[in-house]
Symmetry: C2
Subunit: 684 residues, 2 copies
């Protein structure tokens, strides 16, 4: 395509808007937006397929700004191309309650696909988006109907490349031969500390080639628009490799301080902005000015996108006639609703059923529901046989050339890459047609904490199948036994931590996790067998907490989760021998229990009697529900699980001993208040 002065003007408009918005906010990162304005213009104006009037059009190309601190670039683009982001929104950059926060947030701003800023996440989300396209295309495309064939484009900086998460995701992307993934590396030699030669001297080109990527180079990222376009098109042509374009740019291009780290994270000074505007032919006295011909040029591209969507809609209409069920399924998936009646597949248990480890109960759920929920796509970080995440006969998601599976496969071999897996799941979920789950040991979900937090913040639906959930894993020992992990993730807003005690609670956990469209979940599951409990039902457990065992005139409430609930039940008998009447409450999920009415919660944790929590890890957080806590505020031990439980006294007798102390300690207190009574409501 021939580039004109209007293209140059459009590029400089982005630069000037970036300078204006950061100066107006007196905060933010002008450098990368100014350096990357040319590639952003070429990509949005000449290459990408999107319709700003319908940012959720399924077959749009996805754009991810992995260097999310450069978001004023993305906001400027969204404005110029006609997304619902006004010039006033740009002026409100980085101010409270704006749709233009300091880093891009997917749930707030139209046109933002994923929430980025924490480095390395975006490019890993992009791998997930590309996998989602490959899978969705493989499932729904038919001869003559290339319904789903979009690309995923990502910008990333040196910081993203240094983060281990991007190594994990990009190595997997190479293995998966994702030709639909095109990343542009902003090779500007600058990070916050200064020149990249201080800490980052690896040969990135060679590294990405080692992953199996195509690597292309554009030497003059500020002026060579044709070269940029040619590289992007060459990237599109290679179908069995992701592409990294090494684009050499000058950070803060146009500023008097261009090429230095001074322009990375601080607004330009007023006189610098003036010279910038003058140099680029703008009125130095005007701010947030967009020449009409720039709007026109951008809107032309958007119009082409709208036309492309219209064409696609016609294609889809024909597809719907020929492939009625598939079309309906594709439409349904995008609503986030599950197929009607799927929940009938959930297993139900009675106390007569055998004791089963909850990781195995999870496997049974997956085995029962996978057919009913075709958007379910799972995997494990190389612990398939331990996490039990694979249903029988599952096809692996693999490039067909490997002979190990194909792209329609619904089981992902993530390798030992927990953080990458977490970010990829966020990308899979963000695509709009899939519901991802992933397995690892609970202890190693911590490796993925950065991605888990973004699941919660960006309100996507993902599910962690976190097995080996306590000292109950036994012999592997303290290096693998979670102590702090449940407290960590329970403290994360908009995130559900489930620790089911038996089969019905496991079904309940899956039910709530699968039907919560805007919340991610973690299921903490045992390695050891657990009996099916008298009194548990799916319905009760979906309340997050409930009375498992009631007794008239109780002296104490025992409150527990997961593998300790059955021990608490046994402690009731020990206590009965001591003439203490105990009731038992199971709270498989704090977050869900907290959302119940005060009346209900009071019925579960009533006033008048003391309560004791039992959980084999940190007691932190349990004071919210119980008067006293029995837990493990130290590291565990390596040994057979029963020996380890015994060592730390998590036995009926150990519980009973502490229950006696609890009853005794509280016996002189009149009108004992349940801890759920609070003076005021928290801000949530």
């Amino acid at each position: 395509m021939a580039y004109t002065e209007t293209d140059t003007l459009a590029i400089n408009t982005i630069r000037v808007l970036a300078a204006d918005a950061t100066a107006h906010a007196n905060s933010g990162h002008p450098g990368a937006p100014m350096g990357m304005a040319p590639v952003a213009h070429v990509l949005f104006n000449k290459i990408m397929k999107f319709n700003p009037k319908n940012p959720k059009w399924l077959n749009r190309d996805r754009f991810v700004l992995s260097n999310g601190h450069a978001c004023v670039l993305q906001y400027a683009l969204l404005h110029l191309y006609g997304y619902a982001l006004s010039i006033d929104d740009l002026k409100a950059f980085r101010s409270v309650d704006s749709i233009t926060p300091g880093h891009p947030e997917a749930h707030d701003t139209p046109g933002i696909e994923v929430t980025t800023g924490p480095l390395g996440q975006g490019i890993s989300n992009a791998v997930g988006l590309a996998m989602a396209q490959a899978h969705t295309g493989a499932v729904f495309n038919k001869p003559g109907f290339d319904l789903v064939d979009n690309y995923t484009y990502a910008f990333l900086g040196d910081g993203c490349l240094m983060e281990g998460i991007s190594s994990e995701a990009c190595s997997l992307a190479g293995h998966l031969q994702l030709g639909n993934l095109i990343a542009v590396w902003d090779d500007n030699h600058i990070t916050i500390d200064g020149d990249t030669n201080q800490a980052f001297t690896e040969d990135v080109v060679k590294r990405y080639e080692s992953y199996g990527w195509q690597v292309l180079t554009v030497g003059d990222g500020e002026n060579d628009l044709e070269g940029i376009e040619a590289a992007l098109k060459a990237a599109q042509e290679v179908k069995d490799k992701p592409t990294l374009i090494k684009l050499t740019t000058i950070i803060g291009y146009g500023s008097k301080l261009q090429g230095t780290h001074s322009v990375h994270g601080s607004p330009l000074k007023a006189d610098d902005i003036k010279q910038l505007k003058t140099k680029f032919g703008f009125n130095p006295e005007e701010s947030f000015a967009v020449p009409q011909q720039v709007y026109d040029l951008c809107h032309q591209a958007s119009a082409r996108g709208a036309a492309a969507e219209e064409e696609w809609n016609q294609l889809f209409a024909k597809y719907s006639e020929q492939y009625k069920a598939e079309a309906a399924d594709l439409v349904r998936r995008q609503t986030g609703d599950l197929p009607e009646g799927w929940e009938k597949s959930l297993p139900v248990y009675t106390p007569a059923d055998a004791a089963v480890a909850s990781r195995k109960l999870s496997e049974i759920v997956l085995q029962k529901i996978y057919e009913a929920i075709p958007e379910l796509i799972g995997g494990s970080a190389d612990l398939t046989g331990s996490n039990l995440t694979r249903w029988k006969g599952a096809i692996d998601f693999q490039p067909p050339a490997t002979g190990l599976g194909d792209y329609s496969g619904r089981y992902i071999r993530y390798g030992v890459r927990e953080h990458g897996m977490g970010a990829i799941m966020n990308g899979l979920a963000a695509y709009g047609t899939l519901l991802p789950y992933g397995g690892t040991f609970l202890n190693f979900v911590s490796y993925a904490a950065g991605a888990v937090r973004l699941s919660a913040l960006s309100q996507v639906r993902t599910i962690w199948v976190a097995t080996h959930d306590s000292i109950g894993l036994g012999e592997d020992g303290p290096t693998h036994q979670p102590i702090e992990t449940l407290a960590h993730f329970r403290a994360l807003p908009n995130f559900m931590v489930w620790r089911p005690a038996d089969g019905n609670e496991t079904s309940a956990a899956y039910y709530v996790a699968l039907t919560s469209k805007h919340t991610s979940s973690l299921l903490a599951l045992s390695r050891q067998n657990l009996p099916q409990l008298e009194g548990s039902t799916i319905e009760k457990a979906t309340k997050g907490g409930y009375v498992l065992h009631e007794v008239e005139g109780a002296d104490i409430t025992l409150v527990s989760t997961g593998s300790e609930v059955c021990i608490a039940i046994d402690a009731v008998k020990v206590l009965a021998e001591k003439n203490i009447k105990a009731r038992v409450v199971s709270i498989p999920c704090f977050e869900v229990f907290d959302a119940q009415s005060r009346e209900y919660r009071s019925s579960v944790l009533p006033d008048g009697i003391p309560s004791l929590s039992i959980e084999v890890m940190s007691t932190m957080g349990w004071e919210r529900y119980t008067h006293e806590q029995f837990g493990l505020n130290r590291f565990g031990a390596s040994g057979a699980y029963k020996d380890v439980y015994k060592k730390f006294e998590f036995t009926p007798e150990g519980i009973a001993k502490r229950a006696v102390l609890t009853v005794d300690f509280w016996k002189d207190v009149p009108n004992i208040r349940s801890p759920i009574n609070r003076a005021f409501q928290q801000l949530i």
Copy 2:
């Protein structure tokens, strides 16, 4: 060196011990030990310098088993070479209270340098150990006195290579030109899920070359002992590059199932062990049998190591005469004690001093103490100017060839590699002569959660300088604002989370962190300015919690940390206008406060009046100290920090409002109990 049948026997002894120990434990990983027995034998018997009678000899070569699940290999070696690990300890493998837990733990077992098992950590620790050697050598070696010149050897598997943390650390190791680091990759093509071709098809050789490593190849890791030795020696020769040796092995070598993932994580069957023993010339009816000639061969190597230490001791004696101060310093460092009188350098403040951000207060501490504590070595994950972690005039730790510093430098440019930084700090600390700290935003310590947990478990002393500690960072917004982070790390055993409120508390935090030899710390520090408080002293703050503002006949205790303490103080005035008398308590560190006497804690948080905590993040954990909690159980917002605080009502008025509700809610309760009263002590 010529290899004899005794070498072969020694190798097979390791294999048989691995099979016996895992079978006896009915748990564990025989595969990698059996496959890596040859390289382990060559390394320990012909190459490494160590003295089992003094596992802490400073100039010993360090050995790290990054694939820690293979620890029965390491335990077998420790036994054969005469460390204090008996055959009974081997028989106690993976049983409660043994010194042979399921994964190697440094604090328990003589000869274990670092705690490994969580994949990718060990190789990253090894980078830290190698950096520590380079630094210690650069500081202490003198002409004619190559006092510190040991190598660091690491074994690692495919899992370690897939984890992002190893990418971070190994990229940095290449940049740092660590010729003293030699890693052996167990290239056995097997992971838990099966063949590595399912998920891990990158070109590892090329990747490590891209990092600037030398990569050598040994094609027959089971038989080519000369080739293994030649590769290890070639690795020693290259002084400006770390080396990766790609060693092709057969997992479970000797088993009927060798070369399959069946031998990865499960003991061999009885008949398989029998055929293994028969094949290798052992009595199939005997277990844990070690031929005397194998002991002899191993003990010869140990004797050479003892002689090497003796020679070194003589060298050190001469060194001590010529370099008295240096020698004394080196001896002192290894005790973990700081130089006498160092604490006089800690800054002290009065309320007349200016308001300063606690990140800046931290910088002032570092600036004041760096001369007094020469073992202090710091850095940042590319946020130096934000974390304020670099004292003026610091020299960077860099290879001299870069012209950017030298190995005696005490400031490390980690790049954007938080997880790698955490594991490297663990390695630096484990070396024995250094006290490492590292900076990043509090929110991104989460990226390093896997390494932080191992700091705590392995009882090393590291310090996280975690700035931008709350919504108070303002404009960067929710992607960067911690909510769950303090709860997460407060729930971690043997780990101190400090959130100082002013200058004296910052000095106190450093004092305790620096003098706690076996505990790591995190200092959560503000971006915004904080006033110097009336009533704070270093001494009081070292108790972890104390009364900042007392008043007779108080109606309520306000309890807070960090940047909210000064707002709580202002709330006292607002409450006074409402005729409510409030006292104020500051609890900068839960872990340290919990360790105080019950009497002291009762004086700080007394019975009789209600209490309200104020902290701008998750309330989780505060119920342990206060009756009511004001916090933020949701994500934050992007905007100027004062606007953000106002939005969530963290203002004197917002606090006063909730204090009034608290007083009102508790007014009818007689004899209010302080939450620190408990029915029984936790297991700690």
